[in-house]
């Protein structure tokens, strides 16, 4: 049973979402402020966090950054703003996905399932390490770990799944739409900024030199591909 931490300041929305998610079989803890959310993160240990961007006191973006400072828990932003800049900043702060409020329960539920699949996706071949090495980068497809230059790289679920998807076919060009469908399970016409923000975070975490990425390369006019050997 997935454990969901809901951080939402409006009481009615909080109650409605908690109610709807519980009916879907989730275990939900709902809090009203970012501070409470951060403390629940440690005690409740949720499988996924749903975070409202507009929070009183500590803002949603700050909460997002603090969560990402020491946790790669799947994180979905909920924004009522429709303000495009906030979405980008939120994604760059480390959110895996976002929903625009008002959101129907089954849409949120689908996003939660998708983001959870991103972590458990390769559970089938459990136990047998499947290492792949590309230069200084090692990907364990079974243990879902990535090391770069001997250092383990902590990847959020969307980042990990993006890297696994791209590196499954090195050299093949994926369009943003393809990646949206494969990694985020969004529609073809989803927000391509999810892909761009995720690639950016991934490159930063792998210590790519700015402007000359070795592993995830931009193919102008088409999309992205994993390094050609």
């Amino acid at each position: 049973m997935p454990r969901v931490l809901l951080i939402e300041d409006d009481r009615a929305v909080r109650e409605a979402v908690r109610f709807a998610l519980r009916r879907q079989g989730h275990e939900v803890v709902a809090v009203a402020t970012g501070e409470e959310g951060l403390s629940e993160l440690r005690s409740f240990r949720p499988d996924v966090v749903v975070l409202d961007l507009m929070l009183p006191g500590m803002g949603g973006l700050e909460v997002c950054r603090r969560i990402r400072a020491d946790s790669q828990v799947p994180l979905i932003m909920a924004t009522a703003r429709g303000d495009d800049v906030d979405v980008v900043v939120g994604l760059e702060a480390g959110a895996d996905d976002y929903v625009i409020k008002p959101v129907q329960a089954r849409v949120l539920e689908a996003r939660i399932r998708a983001v959870l699949r991103r972590v458990g996706g390769a559970a089938a071949g459990e136990g047998i390490p499947r290492f792949e090495t590309y230069g200084g980068l090692t990907i364990d497809r079974s243990g879902l770990t990535v090391t770069c230059a001997g250092r383990p790289v902590a990847l959020a679920p969307s980042e990990l799944r993006l890297l696994l998807t791209l590196s499954a076919s090195p050299g093949q060009v994926f369009s943003r739409q393809q990646l949206l469908e494969a990694v985020w399970e969004h529609s073809y016409h989803g927000d391509a900024r999810l892909v761009d923000a995720c690639v950016k975070r991934l490159r930063t975490k792998m210590g790519e030199p700015p402007g000359q990425p070795r592993y995830v390369q931009t193919v102008r006019g088409f999309g992205y591909r994993f390094m050609v050997k």
């Binding site: 409006d10 009615a12 929305v13 109650e15 409605a16 979402v17 109610f19 709807a20 009916r23 009522a80 429709g82 303000d83 495009d84 625009i100 409020k101 008002p102 959101v103 129907q104 329960a105 089954r106 949120l108 369009s175 943003r176 739409q177 529609s187 073809y188 016409h189 989803g190 927000d191 391509a192 900024r193 761009d196 690639v199 950016k200 490159r203 402007g211 000359q212 990425p213 390369q217 931009t218 193919v219 102008r220 006019g221 088409f222 050609v228």
Partner: protein
């Protein structure tokens, strides 16, 4: 005939006027001065000559034997000529048919018969200025009279003396005068031109400033003001311009404030509606699931609430979208995609693939820089509109049209086979909340669908038109440029660097 622009300009007109005034006044003054001076010079020398001539003749006349013979006349003429110190007198003495000149063989051509006659009939000195062979001379005739006693009328002797004196010096003096006038006119003209330029500058500078300011206002810089110098009519004009500009700026600012307030109000209202809607939308699924186990009446009521909540959500979302367009906050997130694939995905995701016939280019042929989400909205709204208001068959065509100078454009046509759009409705189909007839007031759409579609097309730099097909049915045509200036700005970071 129209003068070229540069000749009609204020500067040229001022220049010509000043030059004309200067030339006319210089020439008039010079001419008048010349005439007076010339008369004065000539009169002076003439009076002088006549006076001396008469003195010499009076002084010598008594030596003359009367009636004189040829020899006597010659001696008299020579003596009169010699008595003048300047030695340039030519004298002719006549008596009846006899005549003698001071210089031998002098034809005395300057002497006119009229002068000779005048001397013959008068008792006073007679003179005439003649020009002979380009040299002007003064010819003076003096009849010699007897005066036996003072007070008695002098008696003509029949003898006359004529003097011809060249007036070269006087001519030179007059010529010098003319030269002086000429020489004075040129500097006067030059000064006039200079003054004209200065005056033109004084007039033109404010005029030019005014022109720039007007243009600047027309370009939307309503805070344009002129600096007012002096207190002449042009300064008044500048002042009036500034007042008008200030009034205009204030009115426009007020209008903008009102418009902004109205827009912000719409945005705020939809925003405020979102939070309660967010709570309601989260639980509509629960209502749908439970409706089956409720009593019929309750199920109907619950179904209505659930459905209308979804409708309200769509409406509020559309209002938010329109507010973003109004606020200029709508961004294009460009990506290069296969447009045919995008259109197919739009139809497939809404289960419209079987209801809509398509003429699409093969995969990979029509690629372009668009915002995929907005293209999805455009296609979905047009097809949805055709499905609601038109009748099947509905067709969607996608092709490329080359516009000379504008580059290739993707054309999307959505055609239906319904009754078409009434002529009086056509100009309003993209208006917000425009309802063409009362029966349609309760349709699935929010009333903003086509307005949002048009905004999305415009955001892509394209155009949209609605019309009716000759064979019946409505057609919506969208044109979107495929290549854009600065498209790279819409692409994510790293695009320029790591392409092999």
């Amino acid at each position: 005939m129209k003068l070229p622009l540069f000749l009609r300009g204020l500067r040229v007109r001022l220049l010509v006027a000043f030059a004309l005034v200067a030339a006319v006044s210089a020439l008039t003054t010079g001419g008048l001065a010349f005439r007076e001076a010339r008369i004065a010079v000539l009169q002076q020398s003439q009076d002088d000559v006549i006076k001396r001539f008469r003195e010499h003749v009076n002084a010598l006349a008594h030596r003359l034997s009367y009636p004189p013979d040829q020899q006597g006349l010659a001696t008299f003429a020579a003596e009169v000529a010699r008595s003048e110190p300047s030695q340039n007198w030519r004298v002719l003495a006549t008596y009846g048919d006899l005549s003698a000149t001071s210089a031998p063989n002098d034809s005395f051509a300057e002497l006119t018969p009229a002068l000779r006659d005048a001397v013959g009939s008068r008792r006073a000195a007679v003179f005439q200025r003649v020009s002979h062979n380009g040299v002007s001379s003064l010819v003076v005739g003096l009849p010699i009279t007897f005066a036996n006693s003072p007070g008695e009328t002098p008696e003509l002797s029949g003898m006359a003396v004529f003097l011809t004196i060249s007036q070269v010096y006087e001519q030179d003096a007059v010529a010098a005068l003319v030269g002086a006038v000429e020489r004075a006119t040129l500097p006067a003209l030059a000064v006039a031109v200079l003054l004209a330029l200065l005056a033109a500058r004084g007039v033109l500078r404010p005029v030019r400033a005014l022109r720039h300011a007007t243009r600047s206002m027309a370009e939307g810089r309503l805070d344009t003001r002129l600096s007012v110098n002096g207190s002449d009519e042009l300064a008044d004009l500048s002042h009036a311009f500034n007042e008008t500009a200030a009034a205009l700026e204030e009115s426009v600012a007020e209008l903008r404030r009102m418009e902004a307030r109205a827009r912000r109000f719409a945005a705020d209202v939809s925003h405020e509606l979102r939070t309660p809607l967010a709570a309601m939308a989260a639980v509509t699924d629960v209502l749908d699931e439970e409706a089956t186990v409720l009593g019929a009446d309750t199920a109907t009521a619950v179904g209505l609430i659930s459905e209308e909540t979804r409708r309200l959500t769509r409406l509020v979302n559309d209002l938010m979208e329109i507010s973003r367009f109004d606020a200029g906050a709508a961004d294009l997130h460009l990506d290069e995609i296969d447009l045919a694939e995008s259109v197919q995905r739009t139809l497939a995701s809404r289960a419209w693939s079987t209801e809509v016939g398509t003429d699409l280019p093969p995969p990979g042929v029509l690629r372009g820089q668009v915002d995929p989400r907005r293209l999805d909205v455009i296609v979905a709204n047009l097809v949805g509109n055709a499905l609601r208001h038109g009748e099947p068959p509905i067709r969607l065509r996608l092709y490329v049209r080359e516009r000379p100078g504008a580059g290739p454009r993707a054309v999307i046509e959505v055609l239906d086979s319904g009754p078409g759009i009434p002529e009086d409705v056509l100009p309003h189909v993209f208006d917000r909340f425009y309802k063409s007839d009362a029966a349609r007031t309760r349709t699935e759409g929010s009333g903003l669908g086509l307005a949002i579609t048009a905004e999305n097309v415009r955001l892509h730099g394209g155009g949209i038109v609605a019309g009716n097909r000759p064979e019946g049915g409505a057609v919506f045509t969208v044109e979107i440029p495929l290549l854009r200036e600065g498209v790279l700005a819409g692409l994510p970071e790293g695009g320029e660097h790591d392409t092999p």
